[in-house]
Every structure is written in C-alpha cells, then in structure tokens.
Symmetry: none
Subunit: 200 residues, 4 copies
DNA sequence: CATGAATGAGTATTCATTCAT
DNA sequence: CATGAATGAATACTCATTCAT
C-alpha cells in the first residue's frame, strides 16, 4: 500500500526534524531556511516542495505534535477510571513526552509563540484542545463528586494548563537537568488540594 | 538636585510610551524604529541618544514596569496581616494594573517574550522577583500555619505565577472585554483550596 | 520517408500551441515552463526533449510563424500583376492573418520583442524577410513606373513595415474589437499618395 | 530658492543617469539594482530612498524624458508657421534628441517596452501625447488646405509615429553609425507625397 | 520517450544603526 | 542635543534546467 508520494521517501519528515533542531538551537526568527536545508541535507529549493514557506514548517510541526499528543492521550486515558486518575495521566503524559524529546518541547513551548498570523490559529487550536480535555475531566469529576462544583471552569482550565506549561518551560530552559516526570504527581496534588493547610 | 539629564525634557519617557503603543499594535518584530520615532515625534537618530538599540527600549520598559509593580506591592502589602491576605493583595494588584493599561499589559505579557539575549535577563529578573515575593508569602504562611508544609515551593511559585499570567494574557488577547479584577479572589481560592471536594 | 521523430506524435506542436496561449495570457517573462507543461499536458522535463530552453520555444514559434506567412504570401502573390497590387496583397494578408488568430498575433507582435540574445536573430530574420519583400515590390514598381525613383528604399521599407506593425499591435492590444482587415486599403493609399493634398 | 530637499544634492538625478546607462548596456531585466547603485556610487539601500522600486526608476525616466521632449517641442514649434513646417520640426527634433544621447534613446525606444503594469501607463501617456501632437498638426493642415481630408486620422497618426520610432530604433540598434537627423526631411517627404509616382 | 523530484544560483527589498551637519 | 540621509548586511523565495528512474 503506497503512501502519499511526496512523503514516500520521508523527505517531509527529514526536513521537519531538521527544522525542529535548528529552531531549538537558534530560535525561530534567527533560523534561516538555508540552515534548515543544510541540516536536512537537501537544497534550499527543496524545502519549498514540501512546505509553503518558513512559517508553514513551524505550523506543521505544531499541528502534528499536538495531534500526536492527543492521540496518545486518547489511547492511554482508557486505563483511567476516575477523573482524578485521568488528570494525573494527562499531566504525566505531558511531562513524559516533553522529557523524551527536549528539542521538540523547546520549540513547542517557546518558539511556537513567536510567529504570527498563521501560527495564531495553530496555537489557538492546540490550546483549545487542551482546555477541552481538562474541561471534560473536571466536569466528569464534578459528576463523580470528586471535584467541587463551586469553581469557575475557565479559571481551572487556565490554572492547570498554565502551570503544566510553565513547569515544562522552566525545565526546558534549565537544560533538562532534573527529572521532570517526577513533578507530575506533586503538581496534580496542588491542583487538587491547594496550598491551604486548614479545611479551608 | 538635578535629575538625570536624559530624562530632563521627558524625551526618554515620550519615546518609551510611543514604543509601547507601537509594540502593542504591531508586535515587537514587525515594529520599526522609524515608526517609533514618528509616533514619538522625534528623528530616528534621536532614539539612539536615549536607548542603545531597539531591544533596549523593550528591556527598559520591562525593567521599569516590573519595578513600579513591586514598589506598589511593597507599599500596599503593609495593609495585609496574614500571608493569605498578602497573596490576595498580590493577585489583585496584578490584575488591577493590567486592567488599568491594557497596552502596557499586552507588551509585558506577550511581546516581552519574543525578543532574545538581552531580554532573557530582564524576563528572568522579573520572574525571579515575582517568585521571590510568592516564596516569601508561602513561607510566611507556613510559619503562620495557614499553608501546608508538604508542598514543593518551586511548584507553588510556578503554579501561582503561571496561572495569574495566563489569566491576564487571555484577558489581554480577548481585547479586555470582561472584568479582570473580579477573577482575583476566585483564582486565589483555587490556589488555596484546590479543586478537590473531599477533605483531601 | 519518415518525418522528424520529434514531430511524429505531434507533441512538438502541442507544446508550441500551449506556449503561445500561456505567453499571450501571462507575458513571456511571467510565464513559467511548468505552466506551459501543464497547459500542454506533459511533464516539465518533456519540454526539454523538444526545445532547448524556454526562449527556444518562443524563437521556434516566431520562425515558424514567419515562414508560414511568407509561404502564404508567395502563394497568393501570383494573383497580383502590378507592384501596387502586390503591396495591397501583402498588407491585406498581414492584417487577415493577425485577425484570424489574435493570440498568435499578440505573441508575435508584443512578446517576441521582450526576449533577448537568441531572439535578436529571429527578429532580425523576420524583419529582413519582410524588408526584402517590400524592397522587391518597390523596385518592381519603380521599373513599372508606378513608384517614384527619388525615394530612399530603406526609409520606405521601414515606413511600411512599422506602420503595418503598429496598426496591428494597436488592434491586438485594444482586444481585437474592430475590423482590422478593413484598414488595409486605406493604409496602402497613405503609403502611395501620402497625406499631402497638393500635386506635391 | 531651495529646491525640493531630496533632490538638492542631485542624488535623484545621479541615480537616474546611472540607471539609464546600466539599462542601456545590460537591458532592463538583466540589470541589477546593485549594479545601478554601484554605477551611481551609492549604497543599494539609497536607491530606495529615491525610488519605490526598480521599475519606478524606469518609469520616472520615461515620464521625465517625454516631458522634456514635449516641452522642447512646444518651445520650438512657435518658429513654424504652417502645419507642414511643424511636422518637419517634430520629426527633426525627435531625431536630433535621439542622436544627442543615444543611451537615453536606447532605453526609451527599446527597454521601456519591456516592463509591465506600471510601465503600461507611462507608455500609453507618452504615445498619446505624441498622437495628440500629430493629430493637431494634421487637422491644422487640413484647415490650411495643405493636407487631404480623405485620410483616416488614426492611421496617419500611427504611420507617422511608428515610422519615426522605427527609424530611430534601427539607428540605435545599429550603433548610431550614420547621421540620423539627415533622414528627417526625406521621411517627412514620404509622409507627404507617398511613394506613388503618378498624380495618384 | 517520458517523468517530475531535486537542484541551487540569483535578487529585490527592508531596516537597525551611524555620523556629518 | 537633534537630525535624517545614507548605509549595507542579511534572507526568503522562484524557477529554468537536469537526470535518475
């Protein structure tokens, strides 16, 4: 069964991978199409056989990376029974994926947000998908009775997303020196119990 | 006692204010030094009498904005007795300031992170200051007994900073349509009590 | 007797015809070899089996179009007895041919002159052939006594060629809205009698 | 009395003159902005302080050259009494101007027609001005009785313009080897008396 | 003969920064 | 202090042409 011709020889992937490496090292704006081509071992013009322009490379990566993440989550979420378990799983997966390929994480966390017009949509889509997942989990938890009803869903989504995102970004920028995945459970505990000592 | 010469005629501030407006409207990278000069009503070259380069304008704004924020906080924190009150005050102030000048907030929240080398330091400094303040509050709360001891301080700092930051950014990008300050208390409640319904 | 291989399956003509359409619509310089290939229904590389390069396509068309024109003239000139009749026939044919296929005329009149090196020769050849024909007619007329002897042949040739050419070009660029052939006789009358009212 | 600042130091003219030389030698399309800059002794970027883009340089030259030509004609036409004298003057001036600066003539005659969109208008304007002048002369001649009434004005205009144009172009492309101005009167004679020997 | 993926040379244009006035 | 004309490095993108299949 033949795959799409333009992807048959994997040049699409080769270029994408090369671009991620270059973006991670140089930053999106300082990266040059020629650099990416060199890193990918192709001619400059070849880039444009597979991507519309420089920004499209980044957008494609973001789209694809998001997709893979949520597919993986969909797959693994079946293991979880309760909403809390699902939340732990989500955060864990996020941290694990980031730890597995720091370059991808760097681009996804930091460089993605630098571009513009075209990117805005990709970022929005990715964020929305994340928010939706969190939202479902929270609502499920409320039905189960494990999560309070007197919370503003919008705030909860933002708190969880932003915190996870920030912890990863910090780890990435610190050079990936420590064990990121180990922070998943403590962070989820914070989400669940808060920092207050009393019964509030 | 004479003020610094470069600030004597207020041209420094004029340029800074103009730059913030331009950055907010065009985005840092698409902004042009000429645009800023025109907006400020000075010649292009004049910019370089008051700032080292384009990036320095942004860095100066960030530095100054941070400074003002923490000065204001230092002033107002005296009103607060407990750590929890201080936390509420911090978040409230952050939201209020953002709401007061959305353009500044836009640049501070969004554009600041787009630049590089030079900015890295400014961002770090600003973050560190914020983290320090949060850290002090949390430790104070722990001594008071109002905040649990079994939390990782680093995670708490990041959670609080990232969540506040994200809520503001969302508000800014949404065009400042709703009342931001009203979200301060609910958000702090989330920090304190978490989302879990049980006694944990 | 086999025909030239490259013309056996008519692909040569197919490409040529496609090119003329593309050149006419886009202009020579904005036209792309890929566009021509697509219009002709062949692969990009196939073009180069039948033509040396982009310019050669245009040159070939010009050469061929000129040839056909002068063959047609040679054929029809037999009908004419006097030099004046031949001149009328030449101009008439030129106008009629242009009117029959405006796209070809557009390329021949306008685009032909845009290319360079290689084209210079083709244009020269085409012009020379035209000049030769006019020259023969004029000389014949001088022998017949119908055309003055005190004219500079070079100027006469240029006047006739340029005027016919210009009238066609104007018609082409105007979108072929009016009847071009009807202008042949009035134009020849101008050549013959001039604009002066007196007996000169 | 100060001239417009941007033209005060003649850089506008310097660049224009340099461009004409480069266009004449290399042809418009093969000419490079860098070449023009070098020839003018300025930096590449300086070109864009005085012209919008490459094509604007050519357009400016054409506009200016046309203007100068018609101003000169307006001035000198006062010397002429009859329509025929005016016609001789027009053709003479055209030939003389071309002979005076062959480079300008080369660009005006040959390169001008190569560009596109923007140029279309300039060419049209220049042609129209020429046609108008010829048209006025012919009509004046008809009123005087020196020019026949049974001619199509449109054809006469085209014949005269095209013939003059072609004779100049031939001279230019031949390298300006012979005396162009000497051809003015014989050519006008052709226009007036035609080539026919009989009393028509 | 035919294909079309790959090539890579070639270029207009922008804009942060400088410096003579 | 202020100006703004001049600089020139830096870069994404196109497209005619080739050649392995």
């Amino acid at each position: 069964m033949p795959v799409a011709k333009s992807k048959a020889n994997g040049k699409h992937e080769t270029i994408l991978a090369a671009a991620v490496r270059v973006f991670a090292e140089e930053g999106y704006f300082r990266s040059t199409v020629s650099q990416i081509a060199r890193e990918a071992g192709v001619a400059d013009g070849t880039i444009y056989l597979y991507f519309q322009n420089k920004e499209d490379i980044l957008a494609t990566f973001v789209r694809q990376h998001s997709l893979q993440f949520f597919e993986a989550f969909s797959e693994r979420v079946k293991e979880a029974k309760t909403a809390v378990e699902k939340l732990r799983l989500l955060v864990n997966l996020h941290f694990t994926v980031a730890q597995r390929d720091r370059w991808k994480a760097l681009v996804y966390q930091v460089e993605m947000r630098r571009s513009s017009r075209l990117m805005r949509k990709e970022i929005k889509d990715a964020l929305k998908a994340y928010h939706d997942v969190v939202g479902q989990i929270v609502e499920e938890g409320q039905q189960e009775g494990s999560i309070r009803h007197d919370v503003q869903l919008g705030l909860v989504k933002r708190m969880i997303f932003a915190s996870v995102d920030e912890v990863i970004t910090t780890w990435v920028l610190a050079g990936g020196k420590y064990d990121l995945a180990a922070l998943a459970d403590p962070l989820v505990d914070l989400f669940l119990k808060g920092i207050s000592s009393g019964p509030a």
